[in-house]
């Protein structure tokens, strides 16, 4: 049996050291080799781009990006690693894991439990993207795009607007555009606090709205347009959305 290649992701160095020791302890039972350690989700994704990994042991609570969000982005890879979550005391997450049969380890972790989890992974048990979406109680902090075998992250704080175009969504930041595969309705629901819908095919980041301008037009959609902070484009507001958008602009 070829040893499983393991990535350990935890923001606390002693916790990573402990997992290493435990993986070492159960090597006889479940052959494994630690190919990398990461202190947060961003480092972890970088590592996945350069090193093939079979399973990632991921702490849930990490600064910057939660373990669950890390796992969701990692699913964009061509061969995503299996995920085993580690947590000390997150009752909510544990309940969600139980309901969705997601594998997790409770801290303090025991060697026998690590071995059991690794054996499950070796037997081919994987969480799917849909399940991860379901267990993630928090909105993500990044949108992700798969580009040339690695995961590109776009911080939601940088997004000016998202526009639906045929099969894809165009995500616009100050610097550039990204194409992602997702549904506008899902994004609207997940990030209700961040975006407002101004048109059937367009969500705008509330904090990037600079003002409104009357569009001189003779089409049926002629009316108002949103002016953006840090971008010259003007986005038309549909009649149907205007009342809501106007209410926001007053507050």
């Amino acid at each position: 049996m070829t040893p499983l290649r393991v990535l350990v992701v935890d923001d606390e160095p002693p916790a990573r050291a402990r997992l290493r020791e435990l993986l070492d302890d159960c090597r006889g039972e479940a052959p494994n080799i630690v190919v990398g350690e990461a202190a947060n989700g961003l480092e972890g994704l970088d590592m996945l781009a350069s090193t093939p990994v079979d399973v990632a042991l991921v702490d849930i609570h990490m600064p910057g990006m939660s373990g669950i969000e890390f796992a969701r982005h990692a699913q964009l890879l061509e061969t995503p690693p299996a995920i085993v979550f580690v947590t000390a005391h997150d009752q909510y997450a544990v309940k969600a894991f139980e309901l969705n049969a997601v594998d997790y380890l409770l801290k303090p972790v025991r060697a026998s439990r690590v071995a059991a989890s690794l054996r499950k992974v070796a037997a081919g048990v994987h969480v799917t993207r849909e399940v991860l979406e379901r267990v993630d109680a928090q909105p993500r902090r990044f949108l992700s795009v798969s580009e040339r075998g690695r995961v590109m992250l776009v911080p939601l704080a940088d997004v000016l607007y998202v526009k639906a175009e045929l099969k894809y969504l165009t995500v616009r930041t100050r610097e550039r555009e990204y194409l992602i595969e997702a549904s506008l309705a899902h994004l609207e629901e997940e990030f209700a606090a961040l975006f407002i819908r101004i048109h059937r095919n367009c969500l705008v980041a509330r904090r990037s709205i600079r003002g409104f301008e009357r569009m001189a037009g003779d089409e049926s959609e002629a009316g108002w347009a949103v002016l953006l902070e840090g971008c010259d484009e003007k986005l038309p507001v549909s009649r149907r959305q205007w009342a809501q958008v106007k209410a926001l602009s007053r507050s």
């Binding site: 606390e12 002693p14 916790a15 050291a17 402990r18 947060n40 000390a88 801290k107 303090p108």
Partner: protein, 342 residues
């Protein structure tokens, strides 16, 4: 009231005690009830709306001097009264009320404000009746809050502090036990002390010194896990270490600060704890980095509500706890009466 209340919480046989006439809560309630009675009397004697104000003013001329004189006298004699048995204390307080009301009314009559022995005696009788009613109210209120009930509530509140740090610390110790057994040993010793404090009878006030050392031990354990990400600034005025505070007053706040202020940050963050004395008050300020996106995680409000309720049980209206978000930092400001261990 505080020491007395703390004392009464401790004892198990419940006997009635006089209210603490030096406490703000008692004084405020007396003022409120007596003036309320004056308004009611004015209302009863008035034939029209416009008359109420005038009537009240007339009554107030008689009532207020006596009221303030009685409050001042009770304030001054409070330590003596507290030493008497309850019945004797009540009698003494009523005598003070009767004598002062009579004396002040007599002086006013003598000055020609309103004649008549009848009015004078009626005033004294009303004063005594009001005072007796108030004393009974304070006795019942005291019963409602202490000792058995207050004790049960404190116990329940204490039990609700279920610190996650016990888990965190155990994980921390397990993580270093092979690589650094000496440090693990020290950490377990700290942990044992923390357990002892948690399991102790936590209903009596303790010197601030003990609470501070508990927090330091707790922070040592957290530093094992978080390393340099956790920075602490203690600013404690000299001489305040003897002040009496409810046990587990600071620890849950410091734990919250680590949980909400340090853990979610990628960079290092600092927790600042500032304790100083301001005349007869003890002021405790605590601040930590604020992460707005992290606020939905429950727990903070529960800990604050818990501490507020315990402060109220120990200090009534004389303590308060405020929170504020000040730019990038979350601040807690707490004021309690300064009492010293004897």
């Amino acid at each position: 009231m505080t020491e007395q209340k703390a004392a009464s919480i401790r004892q198990n046989d419940r006997s009635d005690t006089l209210p603490d006439f030096t406490s703000l809560g008692v004084i405020a309630r007396v003022l409120l009830v007596v003036n309320g009675a004056a308004v009611a009397a004015a209302l009863a004697n008035s034939q029209s709306w416009s008359e109420i104000g005038r009537r009240f003013f007339e009554i107030a001329l008689w009532v207020e001097p006596a009221l303030f004189a009685v409050l001042a006298a009770l304030y001054a004699t409070s330590p003596l009264l507290a030493r008497l048995r309850y019945a004797a204390g009540i009698t003494s307080a009523l005598v003070i009320v009767a004598v002062l009301t009579f004396a002040l009314s007599a002086v006013q009559s003598f000055l020609g404000r309103e004649p008549g022995w009848w009015a004078l005696l009626r005033g004294v009788a009303i004063a005594i009746a009001l005072a007796a009613a108030l004393l009974e109210y304070f006795r019942l209120r005291d019963r409602a809050f202490s000792p058995a009930l207050a004790e049960a509530r404190l116990q329940a509140l204490q039990a609700r502090i279920r610190p996650h740090f016990l888990f965190n610390s155990l994980n921390g110790v397990l993580a270093i036990i092979r690589s650094d057994p000496k440090r693990a040993e020290g950490a377990l010793e700290d942990l044992a002390d923390l357990f002892r404090s948690l399991l102790a009878d936590n209903r009596q006030l303790i010197p601030l010194r003990e609470e501070v050392s508990l927090c330091s031990q707790y922070l040592n354990l957290e530093r094992m896990r978080l390393g340099d990400r956790l920075q602490i600034d203690w600013i404690i005025d000299s001489g305040v270490e003897d002040a009496l505070v409810p046990p587990m007053l600071l620890q849950p706040l410091v734990e919250n600060a680590v949980f909400h202020g340090i853990e979610p940050g990628l960079a290092a963050g600092s927790i600042e704890i500032r304790i100083r004395r301001e005349a007869d008050r003890l002021r405790i300020g605590l601040s930590n980095p604020y992460h707005p996106e992290h606020q939905h995680r429950q727990g903070n409000r529960m800990a604050l509500a818990n501490i507020r309720e315990r402060l109220q049980l120990h200090f009534d209206v004389e303590a308060r706890l405020d929170t504020a978000i000040d730019g990038e930092r979350y601040r807690i400001d707490m004021v309690l009466p300064y009492r010293r261990a004897v």
